[in-house]
Symmetry: C2
Subunit: 200 residues, 2 copies
């Protein structure tokens, strides 16, 4: 005799629960929030979703998010063409841009190598990277993948692959995060910080 | 020189961050998840939102969620008309229904009294409750509001208001939750559990 939510509410809860980090309780909380708002609140969310679906694509050159054929950065002629930074996700670009010191361009892999899940080099934008090395005046490739096992393996793979093209291949420094405490740094981080120590 | 996300992505993040429990990090995670899915995933979410916006309304009688003029429960002629359970939100109905023993009907206040935030009796569906007491053969009103300060104050207010109509007014029992440990029960819960003790 269990009485359920109306069909339309159940369907919405099901869709919300498919989103990452949203369980049954948060889905319900979000649905109730939307139902308690004027209908325009739902319209605004719907429009934002539709706009992203219709307008957001990937840059033809670097695979960053873009609303045109080229992303904002690839369109910007003031950016250095000799420096190329390799990242895993478009989101990482914003993180690096926020630091405000990198003036080169990017190339987004959209993932890292994950042999166990069947993700090989052909699933990442690696052939397009090779093409760029042949077509653009790139001197240095900076590998800015996360220092996880998979990120490191991907960096090593790419470094080996592109060195024959005569470019300098570098990697972001690993060490104690600024503002972080040495007490909390793990063994591997301390090892990398020691290896990368600098004279003052 | 900060490079931002494309406009459409920024607009979506802004809408997602307005939802309860969603901060900038989870908004980004959800947006990236949607962008990595086939476009149909966004379509399904959009359709679910539109369907709720267009089809879900409140029951004319009890203010539960409904897709018709009357909700499923008010339409069900097998439900007892003499028992009325007062709840704060439509969500509470599902919780009580899941217990499977209540066979009466409901009345949803859509909130509790919150004088500090200016929410008075006229903002809840209390006048409609009075109307129902006059029109329906109700013998007992069960107050099933949460035992918070505001819930208790609202229960007291309603009990006082409806007793003159000659109905029995009861409240859900308070005590140690089933499966809960006495060690973890707070002082007030223990007090209420002692007051409500039953002979075995």
């Amino acid at each position: 005799m269990r009485v359920d939510y109306p069909q339309s509410l159940k369907a919405l809860l099901q869709e919300l629960e498919r989103l990452p980090g949203i369980g049954p309780k948060s889905a319900l909380r979000i649905a109730v929030f939307l139902l308690n708002q004027p209908k325009e609140a739902i319209d605004k969310l719907v429009q934002a979703l539709q706009r992203v679906r219709d307008q957001l694509k990937l840059c033809r050159l670097c695979f960053n998010y873009a609303e045109n054929d080229l992303c904002e950065i690839c369109q910007d002629e003031s950016r250095e063409t000799s420096l190329l930074c390799i990242v895993e996700d478009p989101i990482d670009i914003a993180v690096i841009e926020n630091a405000g010191i990198f003036r080169g361009r990017y190339h987004v892999l959209h993932g890292v190598l994950l042999p166990i899940e069947g993700i090989g080099p052909e699933d990442l934008h690696i052939s397009e990277l090779i093409e760029r090395l042949q077509n653009e005046p790139i001197n240095e490739v900076i590998l800015a993948l996360s220092p996880t096992t998979e990120g490191e393996a991907t960096s090593t793979y790419i470094a080996k692959l592109i060195k024959p093209f005569g470019v300098k291949v570098t990697q972001l420094a690993m060490g104690i995060p600024v503002g972080g405490s040495i007490d909390y740094a793990d063994q591997l981080t301390i090892m990398r910080a020691l290896e990368g120590r600098r004279e003052l």
